[in-house]
Amino acid sequence: MDARIGDALARLPDYFGNHVLVSVTALLLGLAISLPLAIASLRRPALRAGVLAATSIVQTIPGLALLALFYPLLLGAAALTERTLGFGFSALGFLPAVLALALYSMLPVVRNTITGIDGIDPAIKRAALGVGMTERQALTMVELPLALPVIMAGVRTASVWVIGTATLSTPIGQTSLGNYIFAGLQTQNWIFVLFGCVAAAVLALAVDQLLALIERGYSARNRNRVAAGGIGLALIVVLALIPNLSGGKGGYVIGAKPFAEQYILVALMDDRLRAKGLVATRRDGLGSAVIFEALAAGDIDAYVEYTGTIWTNQMRRTDAVPREQVLSEVAAWLKDRHGIVTVGGLGFENAYALAMTKKRATEAGINSIGDLARRAPALSIAGDYEFFGRPEWKSIRDAYGLSFRQQRQMQAEFMYPAVAAGEIDVISAYTSDGRVAQFGLQVLDDPKHAIPPYDAILLVSPKRASDRAFVDALRPLIGKISVDVMREANRRAGEGASPEVAARWLAEKIGR
C-alpha cells in the first residue's frame, strides 16, 4: 500500500471527527434559526421578502470568502467582550466556521419551508380552522406535517452544502476533511486531495440518505425506518466524538501556513515535541493573515514565520536595513507589541528573489541584481500573480532602476519550466523553493538590501512564553537548517513525498 494512503488513513479520525462536529453544529444552529424565521415570515410579506433576499445574497458570497470574513469579525467581537465584559473567546476555528456555515445553510431551509407551506391546498387550511384548530394548531398539526417532504428536501440540500463547504474551513483554523485537500494541493499529493474529496462526498451522501430515510419513514408512519435513520445519524456523530473525547485536549497547538515548507516544518516540530513527551495538535493550512492573529491571541502556541513578512505586513516598514538589525527589531517589536517570543532563526531564509538559470547568468556575467539592471532592457521577466503588486518588487525596481523588455504573470508551476527552457530570462522565486535547485537556477544577490530578509524564525505565543519544557523542546531546531537542506526537503515534498517523510529526512539530516 502506498505510504500516503496509510498516512491519510491515520489522519482520518481527527479530520473526519472535526468535520462532522463543525457541520452538525452549523446545521443544527442553521435549522434553529431558519425554521422559526421562515414560519414567522409566512404571514408577513415584508419580512418574507427581506429574509429571502438576505439569505440569497449570503449564498452568492463564495464559501471561502464567507468563512474568511467571519475571522476578523469575531476577532473584533472578542476584543470588545474582553474590554467590556472581561472575557474573550477564541475567534479561530470552530466558532467562525460554525457561524459562517450556519448562515450558508439558511437559504434552502427558509425557501423550502415557505414554498412547502404555501403549496398546501387552501381548502385544507380552511378545513383546519373550520374543525376548530387555532392558527398554531393548524400550523403544527396540518401545515408542517404536510409540508415536511418539501422542508426535508431543503434540509437535505443544506446538509450537503454545509458538509461540502466545511472543507473550506481549514484556512481559518478549523480542522476538517479540507486539511487533506489544502495540504495535498500544496505538496502535489493527489492521493490526499482525492481522499479529502471522496471522504467529504461519502459523508454528504450518507447524511442525505439517512435524512431521506427519516422523512419517508415519518410520512409512511414507519417507526423502524425513522429509528434506523436516527440511529445512523447518531452513529456518525458518535464516531466523530470518539477521537475528540479520547484525544488529549489541552495539549499544545502548532500551526502551519498552506505551503509545503510549512507542512514539513510543523511535522518536524511535532516530532521534536513528541520526542520530549509533549502532546501537540497541528493546525495545518492556516491563512497568512489568520495565523499571526491566532498566535497573538494564544489560539496556537507556535509556528514558523519569516522576518520580512512581519517587517512589511505587520510593522509596515519599507526601509532597507541589514539582516541582523531586521531580526532584532522584529523580535523586539513582537515582544513589546504582542508579547510573542522569538525563539530564534532556523538558519535559512525564504525570501522573494530574482533567479535565472546558472548557464545564462554565467554567460552574461550576471551575479547580482545590479549586474542584471544593465542587461534588463534586452531581457524578459515573469512573476507569480502576487509578485508585481508587492512592495518588494517596487523597492527592487526603484533601487536598481530595473526596466525589462517584457513583463509577464504566470502560474508558479509553469514559471520554472519556462525559465529553464529559455522562454523567459528571469523569474521571481522563493529562495528556499526546492525548484531552485531542481531547475539549476541561480538566485541573484541583492547588495542594496532592497528586498527585506525573510529569515525563518520560530515564534511562541505569549501564553507559552515561560513554558520551559515547550520552548526547550523546540530550541534545538534553531540555527540548524541551512537553505540547501530546506530546499532539498521542499523538493522531496514537491515531488510527491509526504511532508512527514520529508520532515523525517530533514530530522536525520540535521541530527537530533
Binding site: 391546498d121 381548502a123 385544507i124 380552511r126 378545513a127 383546519a128 380552522l129 373550520g130 374543525v131 376548530g132 384548530m133 387555532t134 394548531q137 398539526m141 396540518v142 406535517p145 404536510l146 410520512s219
Partner: protein, 259 residues
C-alpha cells in the same frame, strides 16, 4: 320562556374591499332542529353567509346571534368546535387516518384516545362505513366514502348546529342522493339544526324544511318548499321551472304516456 332561535341574522352586510357587497342587509332566523337550505347561483353570497355563522368570516355591519348569544362575544375557535362544518371540497387531512380525521374536533377538545377512538367507530357506523376503514388514509377512499367521512367529522363532537357548503356537489347522482337521504335521517335522529347551501334546486326541494333564495347578496324569497313552487318573484319562478318540468315529465312517464 320562548326558545332562542338557533341562528339569527339581523341586517347583516359583508363587503370585500370596494366591490359590490357580498351580502347586503340580510335578516333571517333558523329555528332549532330546522333543516334550512339556502339556494343561489355562484357569487350570490351563499358561502360568505355560511362562513359568517362560524366566524371564518366577519360581518362588516349588522348583528349575528348563535343560540341567543352575540357571535362577536364568542371565541371563534370555541365556537367552531361547537358547530359541525362539511366542506364542498371535503377537506380531509391527507396525513391522518380516517379515524383521526373523524375525531379531530374531539381530540382538539382534549378527549383521551380511548374515548375518541370509540367515538370514531360509532360515527363510522352512523354514516354507514365499515369499521375497517378507521385505519385507512383519505386517498384510499372513493369520493362518496370521503364525504361520508366528512359528515362523520362534522358530527364527531356532538354539535347542535351543522353547516354544509354544497356537500354533495362533486358526487355522481346516485351517490349524491343516497348520501343526502342518509344525512336527512341523521338530522332528524340527532335533533340537529342544519344550514346547507346548494345551487341545485332539486336537492333543496328534496331535503329542506325551509328554503331561502339568495340573489346578489339579498334574500328574495324565504319559505317552505311548497311555498317556493308558487312564489311570484321572477327569479324564483325561473328557478322552479326545471323541477316543475321534470316532475310533469316523470308524472307523465309514470302514467305510461309516451311523448
Amino acid at each position: 320562556m320562548p326558545e332562542h332561535a338557533a341562528i339569527a341574522f339581523e341586517d347583516v352586510s359583508k363587503r370585500f374591499g370596494d366591490a359590490a357587497p357580498a351580502l347586503a342587509g340580510v335578516s333571517f332566523t333558523v329555528k332549532p332542529r330546522e333543516f334550512l337550505v339556502i339556494v343561489g347561483a355562484s357569487g350570490s353570497g351563499k358561502t360568505t353567509l355560511l362562513q359568517l355563522i362560524n366566524r371564518l368570516s366577519e360581518p362588516t355591519a349588522g348583528r349575528l346571534r348563535i343560540g341567543g348569544v352575540e357571535a362577536q362575544t364568542l371565541d371563534p375557535t370555541v365556537l367552531r368546535r361547537r358547530i359541525g362544518y362539511v366542506f364542498q371540497e371535503v377537506g380531509l387531512f391527507p396525513h391522518m387516518t380516517v379515524a383521526e380525521n373523524i375525531a379531530i374536533t374531539p381530540r382538539l377538545l382534549g378527549w383521551d384516545q380511548q374515548r375518541w377512538a370509540a367515538r370514531a367507530d360509532e360515527l363510522l357506523g352512523l354514516v354507514r362505513l365499515d369499521p375497517g376503514y378507521r385505519t385507512r388514509f383519505p386517498h384510499q377512499l372513493s369520493g362518496g366514502e370521503r364525504q361520508r367521512v366528512g359528515v362523520a367529522r362534522a358530527l364527531a363532537a356532538g354539535p347542535d348546529v351543522v353547516l354544509m357548503d354544497e356537500p354533495f356537489a362533486a358526487l355522481d347522482p346516485l351517490t349524491r342522493d343516497g348520501l343526502a337521504q342518509d344525512y336527512r335521517r341523521l338530522h332528524d335522529k340527532l335533533h340537529l339544526t342544519t344550514v346547507m347551501i346548494t345551487h341545485d334546486v332539486l336537492e333543496a326541494l328534496g331535503l329542506a324544511d325551509r328554503i331561502v333564495v339568495l340573489q346578489a347578496g339579498r334574500i328574495i324569497a324565504d319559505g317552505t318548499p311548497s311555498g317556493m313552487m308558487t312564489h311570484q318573484h321572477a327569479y324564483v319562478r325561473e328557478l322552479m321551472q326545471t323541477p316543475r318540468r321534470v316532475a310533469e315529465r316523470v308524472g307523465a312517464l309514470l302514467d305510461g304516456k309516451e311523448r
